[in-house]
Amino acid sequence: MLLIPCPYCGERDEVEFRYGGAAHVSYPEDASAADDREWSRYVFYRPNPSGRFCERWVHQHGCRRWFNLVRDTTTHEIAGSYAIGQETSA
């Protein structure tokens, strides 16, 4: 069970959180202008790296706030967390 540093509450057990997959994936500015390929990229394709990964979590059973986390998918080591809307800090 991961120990996740919520930027608002501090370190808490993973069971308090819900996972949200890759961070920094934005809804297309104008979805109607996206072609089928571009749209499928948004809906179905997410980065899936082996190693450093920027991902989103929400502190579901805490402050209920979403945030970003940098975690290594091969070691589960967490480098840090940062607010939604910020660029990668770690």
Partner: protein, 402 residues
């Protein structure tokens, strides 16, 4: 000395500089692909490149459930094809893989489960896949150790039963198919990590490995949990996420459970292996990972769930837990077919349910690599479906964890 040994499984050749087909990934799917390339299509100048040891990934980490009772026509066709291959595999490979058609129950715990179970049974029958709907009494008769007390938290309202479903011994399957492939001249190259994929003019030419460059007419990727990483070497993106999937075994026990029982609502699937241990699987860990380990609370929940359904397991011990890395597709169906790169093909996305498909997956992928285009059975399992929207969504409707 090894060459003449009566038990010889395979030898370990030095890689050649070039092959007609290079398979990346020496798990069950890769080995069966190579075997059928040689056995069905006469293509024997084939190498299987395995980073670690053959079958060292999900092939030997899974809970060995085999069934074909999927909802949608496309899924039923490919999994049923696979099940039929399973039924002839021991004879074809001349190896006792302990395939045992002891029946698979998928339990229904609420009216929605029951509705979906009936739907799937009806669809299975019309697709020529054996399927039965059992009410709670029928479940009790078929599997007396399931707790069918109507007062439990998630009472058993009924179950689908596929009698032809069952289990097999995963290690034996790997040994059997590797021996058969090697016997037909396929090169099984272990400790060979693919570090690059050469693409020129939109077509694949070769792979770079820690043991040198290996040219290839066609390349098939069978890298399961590492599919995104390997495909990325060729600049190909996949709609895949990699997650840990945990499983566990008990100590050896006297016979107590005679069939496979799966419950999506209660998050349990369990069977008792031939040797005597209970083999159980859990739901996937939610986060992306390549670490082959998951979080403890998943196991805790799984144990609590198991005891809801099987109070008699209370005193059994967990002997060993482990995790595989599963490649999960958005629609819980695999991707078997071409990529934007010519002569580069991919076989991935089997998620939590790849073991049952092992021979079928290899069979269609071998056909695809031999012909340069998909077989009818895997035509729908294309990458393009994510653009057209023609998904094969086995999440909700099949209502099973794997």
């Amino acid at each position: 000395m090894a060459e003449s040994h009566p038990d010889l499984l395979w030898s370990s050749p030095e890689p050649r500089g070039s092959y007609d087909v290079v398979i990346v990934g020496g798990g069950g799917h890769g080995l069966f692909t190579a075997y059928y390339l040689a056995a069905n299509h006469g293509i024997t100048n084939v190498a299987v490149l395995e980073r670690g040891w053959l079958g060292g990934g999900n092939a030997v980490r899974n809970t060995t459930v085999i069934r074909s009772n999927y909802l949608w026509d496309e899924s039923a066709a490919i999994y049923e094809h696979s099940l039929k291959l399973w039924e002839g595999l021991a004879a074809e490979l001349d190896y006792d893989i302990l395939f045992d058609q002891r029946g698979v129950l998928n339990l229904a715990h609420n009216l929605g489960d029951a509705r979906e179970g009936v739907r799937r049974v009806n669809a299975n029958r019309l697709n020529g896949v054996d399927a039965e709907w059992l009410d709670a009494d029928g479940v009790r008769a078929f599997c007396p150790v399931v707790n069918t007390d109507p007062g439990i938290r998630y009472p058993v309202l009924g179950a689908t039963l596929q009698r032809r479903g069952g289990i097999a011994r995963h290690d034996a399957l790997v040994f059997a198919v590797a021996r058969a492939a090697a016997g037909l001249g396929v090169h099984l190259i272990q400790g060979c990590e693919v570090t690059g994929i050469e693409v020129t003019d939109g077509a694949v030419r070769a792979v770079q490995t820690n043991r040198g460059r290996i040219a290839a007419g066609r390349v098939g990727l069978c890298a399961a949990g590492h599919s995104s990483v390997v495909a990325g070497l060729a600049g190909v993106e996949l709609p895949i996420q990699s997650h840990p999937l945990q499983a566990l075994v008990s100590e050896l026990l006297e016979p107590v459970l005679g069939c496979v029982v799966m419950s999506n609502a209660v998050h349990v699937y369990v069977s008792q292996a031939h040797k005597g241990e209970l083999v159980m699987g859990a739901g996937i860990d939610t986060y992306n990972s390549y670490a082959q380990r998951g979080s403890f609370h998943v196991i805790e929940h799984q144990m609590a769930a198991a005891l809801e359904l099987f109070p008699i397991f209370a005193r059994a011990h967990v002997l060993r837990t482990w995790a595989g890395i599963v490649d999960v597709c958005p629609d819980a169906s695999p991707i078997v077919g071409g990529t934007p790169v010519d002569d580069l093909f991919v076989n991935c996305g089997w998620g939590t349910g790849g073991f049952k498909a092992t021979p079928g997956s290899g069979w269609v992928f071998a056909w695809t690599l031999a012909h340069g285009e998909p077989h009818e059975l895997n035509r729908s399992f294309s990458l393009e479906r994510f653009e057209t929207g023609a998904l094969i969504d086995e999440h909700g409707a099949a209502a099973v964890a794997h």
